[in-house]
């Protein structure tokens, strides 16, 4: 494990096509550790994600992938080590980060439209009353409404954004949530299993959507994934969280049969298709069988 980690712990900033790569990394963890309830989730984590990169966080269940996202957000404080996010300590860049938490599905009876949920991404955290009708009367209101419409169109949700959000499908909800995360024009997106609970065509299309946005606007994307296959062709870097630590590197080096088999402690094969794409076979815990430890109920 140790020698493998050192072999793979390469700074991912030198991985190939990262648009708008600047000198300062978007995320930098040095010797970081997180403890929850007296238990060390992971420690000695070094991590660097360059600006504009599309990076996957992979690993078996319960190793602290979501915890890593929350550490970047600053919701969970580090027990040791240092971290900077967009040049500041975690938690101080809230408006520049779009966050999509793990598995939200809206109550079918919730009487709020998709467009209302997206709109909350702009100013839901402000105190005071939104002026009724203000959105059409004032320039700033018009501008906000235009931004909401723009981002809904970007994710292709225009046709159902006016329906109550509990009544659209899981894939449609996920697109609206991506829109919500994007509407504040973030420099970074943190997506916690955005593809889970989607069917295969929707996994492919949402993954394509996210990578397209990342490439076009130079947004750094950190995406937690259970199944690497839908996103493997878009990745600039991979972070593997396993057994109390994490390693990172370019996908070609981390996504190999040996590395994955050792991390998951089960035989895994990485195959290449004729068009050069990678396929990971034998990965444990397909989304359909896994139990969500974070909310405590099976689905």
């Amino acid at each position: 494990m140790a020698e493998q980690a050192s072999e793979l712990r390469r700074v991912s900033a030198d991985s190939p096509p990262a648009p708008a790569t600047s000198a300062a990394p978007a995320i930098k963890f040095q010797d970081a550790a997180i403890r929850l309830g007296g238990r060390t989730i992971w420690s000695k984590v070094d991590l660097e994600v360059g600006e504009g990169e599309f990076v996957a966080i992979l690993g078996p269940n319960g190793v602290g992938k979501s915890t890593l996202i929350k550490a970047v957000l600053g919701i969970l404080p580090l027990a040791a080590g240092q971290a900077t996010v967009l040049g500041r300590p975690p938690g101080e860049a809230g408006h520049e980060i779009g966050y999509l938490p793990q598995r939200r599905s809206f109550d079918a009876n919730l009487r709020a439209r998709g467009i209302d949920v997206v709109r909350l991404g702009i100013d839901g955290d402000r105190w005071g009353l939104p002026v009724p009708g203000g959105s059409s009367l004032f320039a700033s209101g018009r501008e906000k409404r235009r931004r909401v419409e723009e981002v809904i169109e970007l994710v292709g949700a225009t046709s159902y954004a006016g329906r109550p959000i509990g009544q659209v499908s899981g894939g449609e909800q996920q697109r609206l949530l991506v829109a919500q995360a994007l509407v504040s024009r973030p420099r970074m997106l943190l997506l916690d299993e955005p593809l889970d609970s989607l069917d295969l065509p929707n996994q492919a299309s949402v993954a394509g959507l996210i990578s397209g946005i990342s490439a076009e606007y130079g947004i750094t994307v950190l995406i937690v994934a259970h199944d690497v296959n839908p996103i493997v062709s878009y990745l600039d870097g991979v972070v593997y969280v396993a057994r109390g630590g994490a390693i990172s590197g370019p996908p070609d080096e981390v996504i190999t049969s040996d590395a994955l088999s050792s991390l998951y402690e089960t035989p895994i094969e990485v195959l290449r298709t004729s068009d050069g794409r990678m396929v990971v076979v034998g990965q444990p815990e397909a989304p359909a069988h896994h139990t969500d430890r974070h909310t405590g109920h099976p689905h």
Partner: protein, 315 residues
Amino acid sequence: MTVPPLLVARIDWNISADLHQMLTQHFMVNAFRAGTVVAVLAGAIGWFMILRHQSFAGHTLAVVSFPGAAGAIWLGLSATVGYFAGSIAAALVIAAVPRSSSGRARSEESAVIGTVQAFALALGVLFVSLYGGFLDGLTGLLFGTFLGISDVQVVVLAAVAGAVLVLLAIGARPLFFATVDADVAAARGVPVRALSVAFMLLLGCAAAEVSQITGALLVFALLVMPAAAAQQISPRPVVSFGLTILLAVAVTWLSLGVAYYSAYPVGFYVSTFGFTVYVLASGGRALADRLGTRHLRGALSPGNQSGPRPGVATA
């Protein structure tokens, strides 16, 4: 707790003369004033309560105002003090239970609320029997005293309602965010937990206030029915919020007017009209949904729903 003489005015069906005649009665003017204040407050708080699925908590806060008032009267204090003390104390107890979206915490919350409610009702019965037979007052506590409201009560009601509405307005947007999407709201720095506690306290104040007029058992007529009906009618937050206030005020005014010309209590009419509005609204929505889905089915081909991305195979 003065109960006015049971009086049944005769209606002439000359509406303007009838209205004029009704409003020459000072107790009717006060009933309209207090009713309007209470309707606006109950509508506004009720809208958030329905959205947050906290009707059971709201009901308990209202029921708890009964032992509060009964205890206050037994101790020789004003019933108003008792209403607020009871509801706010219960609000603090309920707010102490961590609220989470996960199923276990939610069922724990409802268990705590149910326990609080049962104990509160038992205390109410105890206070009533300790005071010794004030059966008229008991009816008033449970079913309201719409027609016996003093000028001072109107002023107190308006002041409390004003304060609660201002606080609600300040927190409205983050509260909506935290209700719809707690995780993202928390990540954006919205104090989700503090808002939840604050809302429970506002709900307690509102329930105490509304109880004084509608009685502890009929609070829901104004707290739940207009908001539930309005949210059935429109999923647009601003529209359904406005509609809630309108419905609450309309139901109150209509009930007061009808009750003035009939022998039956106001509480009955408030609940009946509220119920009617809700039945019509949910019936209308069911019908609209049905027509809507038929329309949609015709408009969309089956494979069209996975999104607009071309080149993605849809099953």
